[in-house]
Subunit: 487 residues, 4 copies
């Protein structure tokens, strides 16, 4: 196949790893999980799956692609039962095989269960080596399978206890949903790095990575799942307990800056509102002599509105995003190579021509997309392009569930702001400071903040255990995903 | 199959019928056409196709679905040649069969040719009856096949002459692209109801429904194709001529109000700029005692920005649109039935709670979506919802290429503004007048305007010939599209 | 795509062009048609389709591939109605596009109808030119569309009359089924070149290319459709009439020699029985000094049984045919190139080793397969290979519906029997004479026989009108079949 | 989905569980494995897969369906390397999920490896419980995963040693192929219940379930793999050793009676030759007053030829098998329900009418198919039907890799021969005795025979360990196989 998918955003944005959803106690568990996952589809577009239970048997289906691809031939109808978990997955290209899709379904001595996971562990490799030395056999390359093995080895009669025992051994960022024969279990990492919320729909309980999934299915938001908390929902109702002692929270700032849907409330803050405040702070701290304000769609629209409001400059839709996904093809001619960016974004000449543009973006990772956008605006006639970024310079990779470039590829890790400004060919460039960022959440300078800002500060809230280990394995490559026969 | 696609927008918005694209003189004609069509994908998502010529043979491929679906297995590689036309199609559910996908490829006595068409004819049925009586045989239910028969019957040696002869016989709105063995022909209806632009990419000429397709492939905009003009591009270059005498233009206002991409320039006006002006006029004429302004995404975002700017009220992203398409399933429970709207749109509680919302939308067709959005906002805590529409009441169906509900279903055709306000459960409601609308384009009251506003005024610029004819045929239903065998 | 399908049989056997089926008056018309077509699948594996009527609307579905491929997602369920026609299609590689799949559904002035056709016309090109000059527009390259145009132009109010008028104008071999809004029409060419039978299932009437389709659905065989007969079945029952005067029949011998299923009765003779008799005659006329008799599976198994019985030699299963279809891939190494034959046929060493084999085959077209089989037997240890062919030398292409190599490629058209014997590396070779062949049907030398033996005698029973015309058209290539979108 | 696949053979024949193939030392390892598996496709049609190694990385692809389905989009091209294993799988409906397709690829502490397996273990459940109690986690329901866990737990540095250790713990019938990073390992169960052969193609070594796979790729047969033997092929060449002491062989008679391809040599006997001898013995022992001999295609054709030859009765092709697979649909009418059998088999009236038929079949399992065939013959006019079975009454289920009905469903386990004769509505019925069967292999009454005849004698050559264990698990159902996304 001599074609290849080049999504500009994919190459130059941090990537969320997954979204999870779970429901217990509803006769339409599978379709509700499907709808909930659609609301979380922005968290992962490369694989999706749902597992259900009717108390006797468990049913599952998963596949590569968007939910509409995976569930297009009536597979939902086979997913009987009153409880379900679901998963949408982002993955790096090499490992996007069906093998790694989730939920994973497992048989242990004690039971069947299914598990789905959002996040990244910092000791998964270490645990895997230990488990393999003890004879465990791995069929995927996911952290999720490590957690599953720990659950299987826990030896507890009670699945919640087994899960609690397992999650005590893992470190890093995780939101896990587990479906047992007649129970739904959810657990969130002790620092609260990855988000998870709890809701209610009639008599049914719902858990999800973001509150927009609750809204979509009409469920009421109850509360965020607490960091270090494990929740079990079964016929007796909801039982919450802690598997880790309470400590300082370290919620991921980047969920607010970029990932989460603007209509979600994450740990008490509405995402849109935070972004708009950050835009306002940006305007106050780093004013620009511009004529119009333009946000990079979609993630920077809120910040741009905040900037415009605070600065008094008009907000314009000077960049239009094409809502339709396209493939681009490797082509000999330069003409076709340049099409890639413009397939996704187009600058509106009649808006930007002759204007001094203040361009609001949420972050700069490698810098290539920023430069392309600046050039796009200039070629549409913009007289000046002043770039304002609604977060601090991104200087260090995330180890808790966000897939960015390596440190060597991070433009801000290797260049001063002035150098970045030149590299992206902007007329001026400003980032927020970490204090500015925290101010967007209402914190004053010097306050103890409940956030992980490691990507901006290199100050990781956990040890990075696996960093010291090298991979002992050759690679296993699954070719072409899976095929369903025609018979 | 007991599932069904319910897209809220589909049920309650006017539907564009198609987008066309053509290129002559480029070695990468097929991929450029693909990219150009991706930029036009908003004009039709139900079928797509491309035909090419290398001067000796013609090649074509078309299918149901989005471009990524239709061209996913390397079919582009088989489309050799230096000239191409392409088509994206919207269609009503019943007729969305491969049979009706375009371009249609045909063999006549004189030649092979391929044809793609955007628009709707008012005398297609009449012509079809005449042609059938003369022995013509129809394999599709498209107007396009009528045009093809007229070309075939023209008897001219020269394809351009045959096309000119054919388009003189048809009435209504149309932008047609025709690919001959070594020529590309484009024609636009005499009133200019449907848009079409001409561009240049190096030595190659390009035609497209909207200028955003030129931008995407990096082509330079030359000019709009004139109403009544037929253009032929071949090895000798570009030859423009008229097939109809110049008369007053009647360009479709609704392209600006709703259909076209905001970054397109249509007949000299930038779409975003017009929409923003309409929002400004709306604010001046129909102010509201609100706290925040919210636009219905995506089409009303520009108008909302104009309203906010003119009114001084803050613009908020209070409605979030899910970018991912989902199926909804017919379900017994009311809970699941209500999911439909929320899968597409969600209201942000933290933004709208306790607020008096000014909701900007571009049009109200049947009113059901408007009511759902008002309810959505209220259930998220909005104190008041004042609806402002950036176009006049939509009172009469379009016959020139836009698929709306029948007059009986048009809420504004059957209710006063006050009644509509109550039906959609808003606190207040205002529409623009036709004069306001025209003011958005810079025309003063009483000016002769180059627009068709028939959907607002019932004043159709052509006779509606087919209206008097009843269908002589039973229906032909194509089940399940086409299947490609696995061998 | 660097893979290609090489089926040995496909390269070196005559290819039947199609199978047709029709039923009127059964509530399960579509599934019965599906089953009937499965029984006719040997007549065409490259496309399939069914059209139905419920008296008000017509429904159709067709696609590329085997029936199981085309009807695998419940499409049968959408094919409502009490009457149906169906079609399985063989085609040469280039033209195997969905465009050419059948039944073709059409709208004329007077009505909708669907048509399927088995056979080949000798004046299709001539008629097409005339029709195109009169303004008819062709969307496929099939003879079927020519017949459809003739029906449309017939001007008759009554569909049966229109069909009769159309089939009077066409010449060659044809079995046609036509489905009207409330009637099923079938017509067979005046010479009876292509077969068609009539049956009854309860109150329903059935027509089919071969009687095995009647057996499969449990229908009773009534009689063969007469050459020159047109049959109309509607609510009033069955009406048979003639569109051509009765003349000497010229039924295709090759249906008996190779194409038809052995369990079919074709025009009064059981296919297996004829083949077995031909084997017996072969043994009597051309005895061989062999140890064992082996037939080339599947088509020569009956003849081999006849040979063994008549010669007293043991019949052995020395060649095994793999029932599963495989792709072969173009490979650099000779090793892999040779795999092609062996994927389909394997020689059983323990049977043939040291033996003098009498190999029975039904025909030799290009000779390449015969040589491969002889070599296969020798490499498995056969001491001698004596080839006996149960038909005369194939010296001239068929123009009535069988796709063979051109005359230049026919080994018997260009070589003596002795030369062929050497070319295929056999120890001895004998063919039947035409008189021997006729004896298999019970005719004595000199009898007037009701068969077309043109492929053996070059004595064509019709003029070959199109032979003198050259193609006026460039080619239209449909790339990649059609794609069904995923939405 | 309201359609269901009913293959008559599937319901009423023993089912082979799998076929395996391996090659080491050929640059075209993947395509050769594909071709080899095509030759083994009769051993399993429900899933297929190939894993390869290039010494550094391993590559794999598998899917549901026939090989042509699974490898239809160029997946073979991604399977690099000089060594490969492949697998075709039969499975009962419930468990036919991608999850259970093979080869399974695994990561252990020490290495990556892939494994494929033909056969059935009698202590798999027992071992699984032990492994799960020790913390092993199962993701499939296959015996293969049990073997994989044993290999992983073996702790040996050397993969061959680990395999040897694993296969010492398992009991039952098995032919296993394992692919390591730079080695191919094959092992056969100590009794030789399941077959496996060794061959050579140039410098490359090949292993396969049947010799026909060697023939197909042009490899030379070297010898059968010995029962209890483990073979390792790597850069140093072939190393054979034993993991179990030599003891009396117990090769599966049913491979000869029904499963294996007639052109295969299994453990020294050619399958066709054995079947033909069994037919001869049947004729001698149980003559019938018949006019013609008919074998049930395809498996009984050899035996029928033997019967005809020995009896002097003519062999006729009175039953025709449709080579094309079809779905049947659950239908309200009896008419359609009866279609099922006739889609697969048709009786030739002109052959059987008025005749006393001697019907040769290889076995009777549940008896339903036999009755249908008898009825089919009678309805085609057969005067008498005398059934002769070329094996003894099938009275007891196989536990070594053949999937038959349970004992309660086995007609011969619950009825006398006379009763069976009446149940299947035959005029007379005779089976071979076990002594007759053994005579077909050249053994005299009383000889110690190297065969497992447990299905005829209830004399199992191993303990049936798992029989005493009840399933501790609820079921895990995978819905709809896997889906590959469209992006």
């Amino acid at each position: 196949m001599d074609s290849i998918l080049i999504e500009t955003e994919k190459l130059d944005r941090p990537q969320e790893e997954c979204g999870v959803f779970g429901i217990y106690g509803h006769p339409q568990a599978a379709p509700l999980t499907y709808y909930g996952l659609v609301a979380l589809q922005h968290r992962g577009q490369e694989a999706a799956g749902i597992a259900t239970t009717d108390g006797t048997n468990m049913y599952s289906h998963k596949g590569l692609g968007l939910l509409t691809d995976v569930f297009k031939h009536g597979e939902l109808e086979g997913l009987s039962g009153y409880a379900a978990i679901g998963h949408v997955r982002y993955s790096t290209a090499g490992a996007n095989t069906l093998q790694n899709a989730q939920p994973i379904t497992l048989n242990t001595h004690a039971r069947n269960f299914a598990i789905g996971h959002n996040g990244n562990l910092v000791n998964a490799k270490w645990l895997r080596i230990r488990l393999e030395q003890e004879g465990s056999l791995f069929q995927t390359t996911t952290d999720t399978e490590v957690i599953a093995h720990l659950i299987a080895k826990a030896g507890a009669q009670d699945l919640t206890e087994a899960v609690a025992s397992a999650v005590q051994q893992i470190q890093g960022g995780f939101s896990v949903v587990i479906l047992g024969n007649d129970e739904l279990i959810a657990a969130r990492d002790p620092l609260g790095l990855r988000p998870m919320v709890l809701g209610q729909l009639g008599d049914a309980y719902v858990v999800a990575s973001e509150s927009c999934a609750l809204d979509t299915i009409g469920a009421e938001f109850i509360r965020d799942i607490e960091p270090g908390e494990v929740i079990c929902i079964d016929a007796q109702g909801l039982h919450a307990s802690r598997f880790a002692t309470r400590r300082a929270r370290k919620m991921c700032t980047f969920e607010h800056v970029y990932f989460a849907r603007p209509d979600s409330d994450v740990d008490g803050w509405n995402v849109h509102a935070v972004r708009k405040r950050l835009g306002g702070i940006l305007a106050e701290q780093y004013p620009a002599d511009g004529d119009i304000v333009i946000g990079v769609p979609d993630s920077s629209v809120s910040a741009a509105a905040g900037y415009a409001e605070a600065s008094g400059l008009p907000l314009e839709t000077g960049l239009i995003k094409n809502r339709y996904i396209a493939r681009t093809f490797i082509q000999p001619s330069q003409e076709l190579r340049d099409v890639g960016v413009r397939l996704k974004l187009n600058a509106v000449r009649s808006i930007v021509e002759g204007k001094r543009v203040v361009l609001i973006d949420d972050s700069i990772v490698r810098g290539t997309t920023s430069r392309r956008i600046v050039r796009l605006l200039r070629s549409a006639g913009a007289r000046e392009v002043h770039v304002r970024i609604s977060s601090p310079p991104y200087v260090s990779p995330c180890h808790y569930g966000i897939d960015t470039a390596s440190e060597g590829q991070l433009i801000a890790a290797n260049n001063t702001v002035q150098e970045i400004c030149e590299l992206i060919e902007a007329d001026s460039l400003h980032f927020l400071t970490v204090d500015d960022l925290m101010a967007g959440f209402g914190f004053a300078k010097g306050d103890a903040v409940p956030f992980c800002n490691a990507c901006f500060t290199r100050n990781y809230p956990t040890a990075l255990i696996d960093q010291s280990l090298s991979s002992p394995h050759h690679e296993l490559v699954h070719v072409g995903g899976a095929t369903v026969g025609s018979l």
